[in-house]
């Protein structure tokens, strides 16, 4: 690990050492939330929630953008990419199934064009 990686790991572990921050991160990974909507989910002041969001942002786990008077928070791009990777894995399973169906239908055609009345060996 480089010094930079170590710093990043420190920031991550610090950010994730708090259960409220872990909960906030779960929410914003699932979709963008306004900081005020997040604040309403917890039994603490808006300022306290805002502070938690800032710690996550500093650790690079969360990004914020402004829309009018609202600050909108969403999960880090890398994490979203990991969702993309997971969907890609499922896609591989699906492509396999589709190609096996295709082979099954191709075998039908062979059977119908076959002059012998017996089926194939499968």
């Amino acid at each position: 690990m480089t010094e930079q990686d170590e710093d990043r790991a420190d920031a991550w572990f610090h950010a994730l050492s708090d259960r409220t921050r872990r909960d906030i991160l779960r929410r914003v990974l699932a979709g963008e939330h306004s900081v005020s909507a997040l604040a309403r989910s917890y039994d603490m002041s808006f300022a306290a929630v805002q502070k938690h969001v800032a710690v996550l942002e500093k650790a690079g786990l969360l990004t914020k953008r402004r829309q009018g008077r609202e600050a909108l928070a969403s999960g880090d791009v890398e994490a979203v990419r990991s969702v993309g990777a997971m969907l890609t894995d499922l896609e591989a399973l699906w492509r396999g199934r589709i190609s096996r169906m295709d082979e099954l239908f191709a075998a039908d055609t062979q059977h119908t064009t076959d002059t012998t009345p017996t089926h194939g060996t499968d």
């Binding site: 991550w12 979709g31 990991s82 894995d89 591989a92 699906w94 190609s99 099954l104 239908f105």
Partner: protein, 162 residues
């Protein structure tokens, strides 16, 4: 290649795959209506599927298991929610605890919609799978059934799961 389109919706956690089959829609339907044909296509290489119960009717149950190369069995089920033969069926796909096929409450359930549109002796199939959360998706992949995993488990995912 029969696959014509793939859509990943990262926000809705939905995978949509479109495929064109060189077979009439009734023939495509038959694959799902006949457990022996379904077994030939469902399991990935090395993980053959065995359908123990097969009831493709609204409210029906499909119980099956996949056997790993090491002989480990993964029990799973479909709760069939809607059937409109031969055009469409919907089901909830979940994992079971054991050979009793009792749903495993700790594992996620995904929602599946299969549509088959008739062409000229061909079929356009659209498969839509929706997962409840990123964690649910991760859990499904952690079962290890999906071959050739491209997934390098993200450090963040691990930390969140702990």
């Amino acid at each position: 290649m029969p696959v014509t389109d793939v859509q990943h919706d990262l926000d809705a956690l939905t995978l949509t795959i479109t495929a064109d089959f060189a077979a009439p829609v009734e023939r495509v339907w038959e694959v799902y209506a006949d457990p022996r044909q379904l077994e030939r296509v469902w399991g990935p290489p090395g993980y053959p599927a065995t359908f123990v119960d097969h009831d493709l009717t609204p409210g029906g149950r499909m119980n099956y298991y996949m056997t790993s190369p090491e002989g480990e069995k993964y029990y799973a089920y479909w709760d069939v929610t809607g059937v409109d033969e031969p055009e469409r069926f919907t089901f909830r796909d979940g994992f079971a605890l054991d050979e009793t096929f009792t749903p495993n409450p700790d594992m996620p359930v995904s929602s599946q919609v299969y549509d088959f549109a008739a062409g000229d002796g061909t079929t356009r199939a659209t498969f839509v799978a929706t997962y409840a959360s990123a964690e649910a998706l991760q859990q499904v992949l952690d079962m290890g059934v999906v071959e050739g995993s491209t997934l390098a488990i993200n450090q963040i995912d691990e930390l969140l799961a702990s």
